[in-house]
Symmetry: C2
Subunit: 227 residues, 2 copies
DNA sequence: TTAATTTTCGAACAGTTGTTTGACTAGACC
DNA sequence: GGTCTAGTCAAACAACTGTTCGAAAATTAA
């Protein structure tokens, strides 16, 4: 059934068999996790689908928990790096002026949505992020801090420069809501169907991203334009 | 361990033992589901915690799926009814004028947040809603349509009256984002800690709701104030 | 009271879970 | 060649899953 043989090729050229096994597991785990969540994704599903032996997971990763940690880090870290890279570039571009609000949020949201519209290899990433964020497992909670703490602090600092009139509380609440809107967009995709009776498609990422950016930017700067 | 003996008393007065069993299961299932999600919530956890026999679940509800359906309906339907009741009242109050945007969103968001701040019996409701919405299970998806389809259509109609200048697409996208922000707020509570370094507490519901309402209202009406 | 019905309960069912084990294979290095 | 290591594999492990069953127990009706 699974004819997907397009693996990540390391720069060394050839690929040891053990590495194809590892990456097959990583890929398949990501896909199944995004579909079913952590508990409902069984190692037998993963290994059968990946065409490897059941014991391979514990051999290469140690445990199911460790496998999931590897999956998340493997996929989320590059996106967060890209987010910070774009933010740094914006700061340089606009220096000594603060970066405009919509540019900051573009740096925060676009990398995720662009990755998701890229190669078929990246399909399902958005759903996976949604699942990862909403998983109630303990080790997922720890992962949140590990993976997102730096990111949010850096963006908070820059938002403060752009909106010096906002209190610390307000900045935090509003960034919280911006991220919430993003999470909700990832997690609650089913609602777009419900609301639009199937007229709007989540797969139209470009349109979605633009509307989303307009929404969160306007929400964040509310009081500037209100009174 | 579980000394919670405060059950829902039916208007008949006395309480048949079978009904206390039923409601104990319902309560405990709600609590554990909100903590762990559907798959990770086992019937043995539920029954042990509720102090009832394992077989009681299948006797009273038929299956685990049916139990979850009962839990959701039991808790979400009253909230949605209250949302629609408030919307209807607003329409009457403002007739023949359209209802102001912030009032519409207040009717949509407040019932949920108020229920959650009420009796201890209602604690954990917010998290349960988050879980229910983000569960990837098939029967949960069907439930979304069942439980939320009417609600979104009614609110969409009213939003169209208030914002006639917005296209159908825009209305749908923006309502989608409003709901997303709400979902994200429920699902991604852990981020408030991460962002504010523990300074802001999710339990400050009143503050949270006010900031949330300001945020989504401003996001929704963006173009009115933009150009 | 007796009889009928509803509800509880312990035990077991069949199936699935993550993990471990030990034999087997292939390649690297001396 | 022989030795060693990394990787694969089938099989089994113990624990846990939702569900079912029949006999007790409790409740209701007559």
């Amino acid at each position: 059934m699974n004819s997907n043989t397009c693996f990540i090729m390391p720069s060394t050229g050839t690929l040891k068999k053990s590495e194809t096994t590892r990456s097959r597991i990583l890929e398949t785990a990501e896909r199944l996790f995004s579909k079913r969540g952590f508990r409902a994704m069984t190692l037998r599903d993963v290994t059968v689908d990946a065409g490897v032996n059941l014991a391979a997971v514990n051999y290469h990763f140690g445990s199911k928990d460790a496998l999931m940690r590897a999956v998340i880090k493997h996929r989320v870290q590059p996106i967060n790096k890209e987010r910070l890279r774009r933010l740094d570039q914006l700061i340089i571009d606009y220096a000594p002026e603060p970066v405009p609000l919509e540019k900051i949020f573009d740096a925060l949201l676009r990398p995720l949505f662009e990755k998701a519209t890229g190669s078929p290899h990246n399909r399902g990433l958005i759903r996976m992020m949604g699942r990862a964020i909403s998983e109630p497992t303990d080790f997922m909670h720890r992962m949140h801090k590990e993976v997102f703490s730096d990111l949010t602090q850096r963006f908070l600092t820059e938002l403060q420069r752009t909106c010096p009139q906002l209190s610390r509380d307000q900045l935090q609440y509003r960034l919280f809501f911006v991220i919430d809107t993003m999470i909700g967009t990832l997690v609650g995709q089913v609602f777009l169907d419900t609301i639009s009776n199937g007229e709007l498609k989540f797969s139209d990422h470009e349109r979605m991203l633009q509307e989303l950016l307009d929404f969160v930017t306007a929400g964040f700067r509310q009081h500037e334009t209100k009174a």
